[in-house]
């Protein structure tokens, strides 16, 4: 019974860590807008913790380049299981318009496994919330498996 309560709690209390890889900050502004009273994702129990050791879900925006890929990997490794990754925006999904640039590695999934891709440039807060909710379901399935 306790185990099922813990499983249920994983969906009810997803703590996010938001990391801006190489973003222009467009997606970041939209992500942080979700925390404002207009969209208020805290009603889902979502808290923006700045510390990967406390986080369940890693929200990544922006392209991965040769310098921040190590940081991204490090943050992902420091998150305790179970965890999920959500790539936000065109850049996070695939590198966006910067895909061909010499310093860009590509989307987030070049470095760490991604569970949900949220396209957009920038992605709308509604889309982000939709993606996070989708990610929670995947997260719960992952935790069970």
């Amino acid at each position: 019974m306790l185990k099922s309560f813990i499983k249920k709690s994983r969906i009810k209390s997803p703590w996010i860590m938001h990391f801006d890889c190489g973003s222009c900050n467009g997606c970041d502004i939209e992500t942080l807008a979700c925390l404002t009273p207009v969209y208020d994702i805290e009603r889902f129990g979502i808290v923006n913790v700045g510390n990967p050791k406390h986080a369940d879900i890693l929200l990544v925006t922006g392209t991965v380049n040769h310098r921040n890929k190590k940081v991204l990997k490090n943050l992902y490794d420091q998150m305790p299981e179970p965890k999920a990754v959500i790539a936000i925006g065109a850049c996070g999904t695939s590198g966006g318009v910067f895909r061909e640039a010499y310093n860009v590695v590509g989307g987030v999934d070049k470095v760490i496994p991604v569970d949900v891709y949220i396209p957009g440039c920038p992605a709308k807060p509604e889309a982000i919330i939709d993606g996070v909710v989708l990610g929670l379901q995947k997260f719960a399935e992952k935790a069970e498996g």
């Binding site: 050791k53 190590k70 940081v71 420091q78």
Partner: protein, 635 residues
């Protein structure tokens, strides 16, 4: 009885001489070990035999009183000689003043035909004898390998250990004599011997700063000696007796002369206990080798100062002198706790903490209720054990790492795991329940509740102590996870006293209900506390010793079990904003130009709030004002 007294008071003098004259280090070690063991056993036997009164028979046709008088003047002449040798006007003045006072007292005033029982022991004295003999012996035993290493470190050609052990061991006899004395002149004589031992031992290393600090200690303690002589004169003028017990039990209301005398004696106790504004001699005494700091300057000699105040406390109960003593003690407790926060030198932290706790004990003596006296005695016992332990730990650490700064002790667990754990245990016994020091502190605050200024100062001081202890304990563990600490090598004779004192501090705290019931409660007509089921209850509140030990102990064991089970896990690197150096666990991160940057941490010492330069002069002025208040309040 007389045999035990001979053993406890005279044997150390003989043993000290033996250490000085027999030059082989192996024999010296044996003498110290043997003396230590005999003293410990004798003190326990004395405790078991209970309170007593005793006067030694005349020897060689001369009464012991005359011998002591002669020795007294001889000692003062020696001190005067050192005053000339170091060209210090204050020492010369003070020793001459003491001689003059003694001449007047002994030759013109005292009626030598009156019989004064020489020794009297009640529970307080017997407990002090236990502390001196057992803890003192452990420290002397620790000193054997410590001094050997110390002299190797200094590359000395000729060893100075014979002189060192002469005074270290002899000192134990002087302390035993002090706490057992009933004749005030005898108490004064032993008091002066401890002053002299302290002077010699502080200056042991012979460096310029050691000599300077030893001279300062000598003149400050001699000032105390002058006050003591003045006090004796006032007391004798009012009561016409040298008998301390007669003075305490006479029950007549204290006259102005008597109160002034008692205030002077309390002043002498203050200087001996390095209370404000005399704390600088104790801080300067930290240059001495660690066994000196542990023995004289934390667990025994400075306890002689508080013992004197505590012993005479019933005589000034209810007068303004008592309030003055309480205020002086409480203020020292507060001010030195504040000053300790700004220190990073380990021995200075311990010194300030010692002075602070002595102030607490003196405040209890000033409050003068049975509950306060119980608190004072408990604090004396437990502080002596824990503080001696901590000083010995710091000595051990200093010899290994070459520094006594607590910042250099960061992550000590990786290099010296056993000593680090013992130090942490010692620190925790100083600040947390259910250990004895906290029990005493709890009792003191509850006993002081009737005096507003005193209790406010005690409350604030008590909060300050947590800060400087907790950060020291935490920083000892500051190391990357998963590293196996190197096994620690340590001389057996150093390890044994450390482990004994560590175990003692915990076990004695567990035994505190029994200590109260059998050793302290018999002192009082009206018992301040009752013990039932390991809970110490008084009219104001209760401290549940056994239940707390049980529950906290279980919690501790459970936590340890959880830690043991998690030994297999890989330890994560600390969070460093994602820039941890690949594969490293110690928090170093990739910095400018991709170069690794090592983490450096330090404690907050709050110099702007608690800096020594700022606070010391303010505190000294306030303390002098309070002392003047105390002495003037007698009038």
């Amino acid at each position: 009885m007389s045999n035990l007294l001979v053993v406890l008071v005279l044997l150390p003098f003989v043993a000290g001489l033996a250490c000085y004259l027999l030059r082989a280090s192996f024999i010296r070690s044996l003498v110290v070990l043997g003396t230590g063991g005999i003293l410990a056993v004798a003190s326990i036997a004395l405790m078991m035999s209970g309170p007593f009164t005793y006067s030694p028979e005349p020897v060689l046709g001369m009464s012991w009183d005359s011998l002591i008088t002669i020795a007294d003047f001889a000692l003062l002449l020696v001190i005067l000689f050192y005053g000339f040798k170091h060209n210090n006007l204050l020492i010369k003045l003070f020793s001459v003043a003491q001689m003059a006072g003694l001449v007047i007292l002994e030759l013109f005033w005292v009626d030598h035909t009156a019989h004064v029982p020489t020794f009297y022991a009640d529970q307080l004295s017997l407990i002090m004898v236990l502390i001196i003999s057992i803890i003192g012996s452990l420290i002397c035993i620790y000193a054997i390998p410590y001094m050997k290493e110390h002299e190797e470190h200094l590359h000395l050609e000729t060893t100075k250990q014979p002189r060192f052990f002469l005074f270290l061991v002899l000192f134990l006899g002087a302390m035993n004599g002090l706490v057992l004395s009933n004749n005030i002149l005898w108490l004064y004589f032993f008091f002066e011997i401890t002053t002299f031992c302290s002077f010699i031992l502080i200056g042991h290393d012979g460096t310029e700063i050691a000599i300077k600090n030893s001279v300062r200690a000598l003149w400050m303690n001699s000032a105390g000696g002058v006050a003591f002589v003045a006090g004796m004169m006032f007391i004798y003028a009012s009561t016409a007796t040298l008998d301390i017990q007669a003075l305490l039990t006479s029950g007549n209301t204290a006259t102005v002369g008597l109160l002034v005398g008692l205030a002077f004696v309390a002043f002498a106790g203050f200087t001996k206990a390095a209370q404000l504004p005399f704390q600088s001699w104790l801080l300067g005494a930290m240059v001495a080798p660690t066994p000196v700091s542990a023995l004289l300057h934390s667990s025994t000699m400075v306890k002689a100062g508080v013992y004197v105040v505590l012993r005479f406390a019933p005589a000034f109960a209810g007068s303004f002198v008592a309030t003055g003593v309480a205020l002086c003690g409480a203020f020292t407790f507060l001010a030195c706790a504040a000053l300790a926060i700004s220190q990073s030198n380990g021995k200075k932290i311990l010194a300030y903490s010692t002075i602070s706790n002595l102030g607490l004990i003196i405040a209890c003596a000033g409050i003068n209720t049975p509950a306060a006296h119980t608190a004072a005695i408990l604090l004396i016992i437990f502080h002596a054990v824990s503080k001696a332990l901590l000083f010995l730990c710091v000595g051990s650490i200093e010899q290994r790492i070459g520094s006594r700064d607590i910042e250099d002790m960061r992550g000590l667990y990786a290099r010296m795991p056993r000593t680090a754990w013992i130090t942490i245990t010692g620190i925790l016994t100083m600040i947390l329940p259910p250990f004895g020091v906290l029990l005493g502190k709890w009792m003191a605050i509850e006993a002081a509740s009737g005096q507003m200024l005193t209790v406010v100062m005690l409350a604030m001081g008590s909060a300050l102590t947590v800060v400087y202890w907790a950060r020291w304990a935490g920083s000892l563990l500051d190391m990357p996870g998963g590293e196996k600490p190197a096994p620690e090598e340590q001389a057996t004779l150093m390890r044994l006293p450390l482990m004994t004192l560590c175990l003692g501090s915990v076990v004695l705290s567990l035994a505190s209900p029994a200590i109260y019931e059998y050793m302290i409660r018999p002192m009082f007509v009206a018992a301040p506390f009752t013990v039932a089921g390991g809970v110490l209850s008084g009219p104001m509140g209760a401290f549940a010793i056994y239940p707390l030990f049980l529950l906290l102990g279980l919690g501790l064991l459970y936590a340890l079990r959880v830690v043991k089970k998690s030994r297999g896990m890989t330890y994560a690197a600390p969070y460093a904003s994602g820039a941890n150096v690949e594969g490293s666990n110690d928090g170093s991160f990739v910095g400018p130009m991709n170069a690794p940057v090592k983490i450096q941490a330090g404690n907050y010492y709050l110099p702007a709030f608690f800096g020594e330069e700022r606070l010391t002069s303010l505190a000294n002025i306030a303390a002098i004002a309070l002392i003047v208040l105390m002495i003037g309040g007698a009038l």
